[in-house]
């Protein structure tokens, strides 16, 4: 059974900080197309603190670490992203209390729980053109690999593919949540910045682990260039 070590989780978080900080303006610009242009800044405000306080973050176990990250998000991220990402990390933390390593199935469960939490918090469902449209297919990928080959590398590549694909598949949809939902039809034709962020993070994780793949959506190519 493939194990994911705490060190690998830490590394993924560090990589995520870099992704979010590098794309602060780009993600905000994407949000500006149909939303209110604050997504990149909101997210970066939180991850900048996580990055800076990294050494002081409690790393007794994965759960403790994710709990602290969830708290930093709650403290520093405003807008819709604060509750959404804070809830996601909180749910992940609850399932990893005391653990210093997790299985692929654990990871799938964590994401499943995060998705449920985000849905309960914000009321969005698949097709509302939110980051759930990336997270839900990624969850399917995790579940399949957890039940099948259990290959973390293949899992990550397939997950990145799924999130990447979600950008183009939802591009023509009309947003039904967040500020972008307020422009009605005008959001159709623009990518959802939350989905782009998830796909970009997964692509950066691939790169960090030496998994070769070429992003399909132009936005991910741009964000990871």
């Amino acid at each position: 059974m493939a194990e994911i070590s705490q060190e690998q989780v830490e590394r993924a978080i560090k990589t995520t900080c870099a992704t979010v900080l590098r794309n602060e303006h780009y993600f905000s610009d994407l949000d500006g197309l149909a939303g209110d242009g604050d997504f990149g800044t909101s997210l970066a405000t939180g991850f900048r603190v996580i990055d800076k306080e990294w050494d002081q973050i409690d790393k007794t176990d994965i759960g403790a670490m994710l709990l602290k990250i969830s708290m930093l998000v709650s403290k520093h991220v405003g807008g819709s992203s604060g509750p959404i990402w804070g809830t996601g990390f909180m749910k992940g933390a609850m399932l990893t209390r005391g653990k210093t390593a997790i299985s692929l199935q654990d990871l799938a469960d964590m994401l499943g729980s995060a998705i449920e939490g985000i849905q309960a918090r914000g009321g969005a469902k698949l097709g509302d053109k939110t980051l759930l449209d990336a997270l839900i297919p990624v969850h399917e990928v995790l579940k399949a690999h957890a039940a099948g080959d259990q290959d973390p590398g293949a899992t990550l590549r397939d997950a990145a593919d799924a999130a990447d694909k979600a950008i183009d598949e939802t591009r023509s949809l009309v947003a039904h949540r967040g500020r972008a939902s307020q422009v009605g039809e005008r959001s159709s034709g623009t990518p959802d910045p939350g989905i782009v962020a998830i796909a970009t993070i997964l692509q950066d994780w691939c790169k960090d682990r030496g998994i070769a793949r070429t992003p399909k959506a132009a936005e991910v190519a741009k964000a990871t260039a």
Partner: protein, 331 residues
């Protein structure tokens, strides 16, 4: 960007510092949470009234803190809901034995943040409750969004609840007043220009030199339609029609009438609108018992205005009459 601003990222903390420095006897400022509470502190015999939302709508929300108004408020970045922790800390700081009523303008980000904060506070034994304000008639309820937006009517909910809390009404009673005001208040706005959030540096929407956005939201959200600019009287008629037909208001109603500036419109233009609105109100058989002309809920430097009607009864009239004090003042 024609603004008085230093580092745009510091815009909110800097103006909050200014508000605090200018009101040392009235307000207490906690920079860590962009939180302002009454200097006089919490009275455990009285319900605390709390609010918080994105910045850019001043004097809402932090400038509405004071005796007879809010107990405390926190602000997020411009147009972004405050972080959950700020909301939680605000509830905690304002926690009263009589309970805390959180008045949330109905936006997704604000609702989610206050939901979490209220849950956290409740888990800690604080008696906190939320109430959503949604007076904007411009955008209809829909399956997909969180519904109507909360705009300038917010002022009346705060004023009435603040006065009721001051009188020692209990949490159920204060909440009932919030509901009564919210059920009887309606608003619609119109924008002539966009505004520029300092950190963004560019307008939040494009609008032609001869155009206006009817039913605009206070974050620049689109309204009912984009039109050529009309004479003030015609605009006022449109707003009045949309607002007064919404509940609907009835002939014989005693009302409060508010013309709210969105930030960049001078007071004189608001009075041009008021003159017509007052006339229309009288023609419709309403009695204008109180009026409010000025800035109550803005959108940075946006040129524009909104019209709000609140139906009054003896209880609400008395609550609006009650004394209050905030950082927004003349003398």
């Amino acid at each position: 960007m024609k603004k008085f601003v230093n580092d745009p990222a510091q815009f909110v903390p800097e103006f909050m510092k200014g508000i605090a420095l200018a009101n040392p006897d009235l307000l207490d400022y906690t920079p860590e949470f962009q939180m302002i509470v009454r200097k006089s502190g919490v009275d455990n015999a009285k319900v605390s009234i709390v609010q918080g939302s994105g910045s850019g709508h001043e004097p809402a929300h932090v400038m509405a803190v004071g005796p007879g108004m809010l107990t405390g408020a926190c602000q997020g970045a411009v147009f972004a809901a405050p972080p959950v922790d700020a909301c939680y800390e605000t509830i905690k700081k304002c926690a009263s034995d009589a309970g805390v009523l959180v008045l949330v303008n109905n936006y997704q980000g604000d609702r989610m943040a206050w939901d979490m904060a209220t849950e956290m506070a409740t888990a800690e034994g604080i008696n906190a409750r939320q109430f959503w304000i949604n007076d904007d008639v411009a955008v209809e309820d829909s399956l997909y969004t969180v519904g109507r937006r909360g705009v300038a009517g917010n002022f009346f909910v705060i004023k009435a609840c603040g006065a009721a809390a001051e009188q020692g009404k209990n949490l159920d009673e204060v909440e009932a007043i919030a509901k009564k005001v919210n059920d009887n208040v309606r608003t619609m706005g119109v924008a002539l220009t966009s505004c520029i959030p300092p950190a963004k540096g560019t307008p939040i929407f494009e609008i032609g030199d001869d155009e206006m956005e009817v039913g605009v939201g206070i974050h620049g959200e689109p309204g009912r339609r984009r039109e050529k600019i009309h004479p003030a009287d015609q605009i006022t008629e449109e707003l009045f029609e949309a607002v007064s037909k919404d509940i609907p208001f009835n002939s014989g109603d005693r009302i409060a009438l508010m013309i709210n500036g969105l930030g960049g419109t001078p007071i004189t233009e608001l009075y041009v609108i008021y003159a017509k609105a007052h006339e229309l109100a009288e023609k419709a058989g309403f009695t204008v018992v109180r009026n409010y002309v000025g800035e109550y809920c803005t959108s940075l430097e946006m040129a524009g205005a909104s019209l709000t009607i609140l139906r009054l009864d003896a209880e609400l009239e008395a609550l609006l009459d009650a004394p209050a004090e905030t950082a927004a003042r003349i003398f």
